[in-house]
Symmetry: C2
Subunit: 332 residues, 2 copies
């Protein structure tokens, strides 16, 4: 039994708090707004972000950072990726040496072109960092539907601890020592989901969609290897596993945005119609910067950027991908 | 321009014949029955297996082996996998040294536990053998929807020739030098599609399905490596690419059979209801024999065999998979 605080009371943070309480840990759920904390405490339900799931009485829900950090050594960071740096800065004064931060947000730092665990290390270098990723809709985990994820960290003891904390009979946790690959896979799959949505929006078939997903994973692997990762990681839960969930789900905003782009709509209108943040759009830009920085050929990422930001005709983009030079799958 | 005969006038053979004619090859399509050859010639359409697609006048459709082998050096073998050996025996007297057989059937030889290219080599050792695999519904290729596939052979010149023959702007062909991996991926994905159908039939979610697909690829890779293949191959078009198409398609018989099994029906009734050959059922048995032969742990293959042939409760099978010992993704 551990004392654990989940930072962020969105759908994923709330679902993980329930899972950890189920695993008999002492859990505090910290919410960015006081209102949400009050509502969850009153209703025993997170009506906005995870409706119809009972929040166990054993979970303390609070907006008070001091309370959320008292007697704690383990934190789950479950905020949108763009708020990772800011949130860590807010918590920094309350954290101690060797506290463990397990990040579950997926994304990249566009400005510095670094991974999110590197952002966390920059802000709180005295803490240990792990990540958890993989194909895991929050709603399904909250309903105890069988789910598999993967954890990673620089240090074996750290990721094994993360595995122990989370694992139960409906939440199977694998370890992977390739932190770079795990973080890249989770971030870049959103861009490939966007591209696979474009194919659907164009009215192309299962063949085309599978081609984009498979060759998308190939180019993510190429970048991963250039950055020092293991190509096999992209074959796993944080790579193709997470991509499959995103590309086949009707709920994925990235996929929906892609479909609208494929139907010929302009980015501005697409974002209005989806009405929420489409993470793949920002990650597409970052990915292109990473490709340049590491001098890696990423044709799908290139074409999706042209569709997003240069009004390129999506159909032309697909045929430009098809007509490239003959090549091989044997890259590594 | 080459003289090419497609052996087998099912949906895939017919679609490939049309594609090759489109690429300006001189194409003969050989049908196992005289009736089908006559019908296709009369209707300029393969109404039974590939309706609504015009067969170009330039294609010769025949049931006559002698005609189908005159002045030919390249054959596309597009028959159901269980007929590969028999068909090659029938053609053997008409084949010459160094004729190229490009096999597009997916399966394994259950009796001898060998791959289909090995079956072909046994029957016609004087011929060269290549394989073509990947995510490619015949109906979509016939409609010229963008599709990617992969070719392999022992000899680089052979698979590069296969790439040249097929490639065009809607059919992009990659090469891969790992013949073992390419053949295993295409065959075993049907078993994983069956298992992912079981999860859907049980009413589990996207998380569970993605877990089965991803960990299914992991165990296929494990067998592939034990047999001398490259684990990266299963990351590619003949591995996860083909698996995605099969597991997400409503038309997949393997997936449909899995759904019925997950709903609690017995194998006999499932096969009656699907009404056609479910290749994954036979391949499941072969796969288990391969796992034993090469001493490889394949938990999903094991559980699907128990569901199929030992009346194991599918829900219990899924939880038995979830409750195994803690492990890692780092295998290779």
């Amino acid at each position: 039994m551990k004392n654990i605080t989940v930072i962020g009371a969105g759908s994923w943070g709330t679902a993980l708090a329930c899972l950890l309480a189920q695993n008999n840990h002492e859990v505090t759920l910290w919410s960015y707004t006081e209102q949400l904390a009050t509502d969850i405490n009153k209703n025993k339900e997170n009506i906005v972000f995870l409706p119809n799931i009972k929040i166990p009485n054993s979970i303390t829900v609070t907006n008070d950072i001091s309370l959320a950090t008292t007697n704690k050594k383990i934190y789950i960071l479950a905020v949108p990726s763009i708020f990772v740096r800011e949130t860590m800065q807010t918590f920094k004064p309350f954290l101690k040496k060797d506290d463990l931060i397990i990040n579950v947000a997926k994304g990249l730092d566009e400005v510095k072109q670094i991974r999110l665990s590197e952002v966390i290390e920059e802000v709180v270098p005295e803490c240990k960092v792990a990540v958890l990723s993989g194909p895991s809709h929050a709603e399904e985990v909250a309903k105890k539907i069988p789910t598999t994820v993967v954890v990673s960290a620089k240090d074996e003891n750290v990721y094994k601890l993360a595995q122990d904390i989370f694992m139960n009979e409906y939440f199977r946790v694998y370890t992977n020592n390739d932190l770079i690959g795990i973080e890249l896979g989770g971030a870049l799959k959103n861009v490939i989901a966007l591209a696979s949505g474009v194919s659907d929006g164009l009215g192309f078939g299962d063949n085309t969609k599978s081609a984009i997903m498979t060759r998308g994973i190939a180019e993510i692997s190429r970048l991963g290897v250039a950055m020092g990762g293991n190509p096999m990681t992209f074959n796993g839960l944080a790579g193709v596993g997470d991509l499959i969930v995103t590309c086949t789900s009707m709920h994925s905003r990235n996929r929906r945005a892609g479909i609208l782009l494929g139907q010929g709509k302009q980015l501005e209108d697409v974002l209005k119609e989806v009405g929420m943040v489409v993470e793949g759009v920002n990650t597409a830009k970052s990915a292109l910067l990473f490709a340049l920085k590491y001098n890696v050929d990423m044709p799908i990422i290139q074409q999706i950027n042209k569709i997003l930001f240069e009004q390129k005709d999506p159909k032309e983009a697909v045929y430009d991908l098809m007509k490239r030079e003959k090549t091989t799958e044997n890259e590594f």
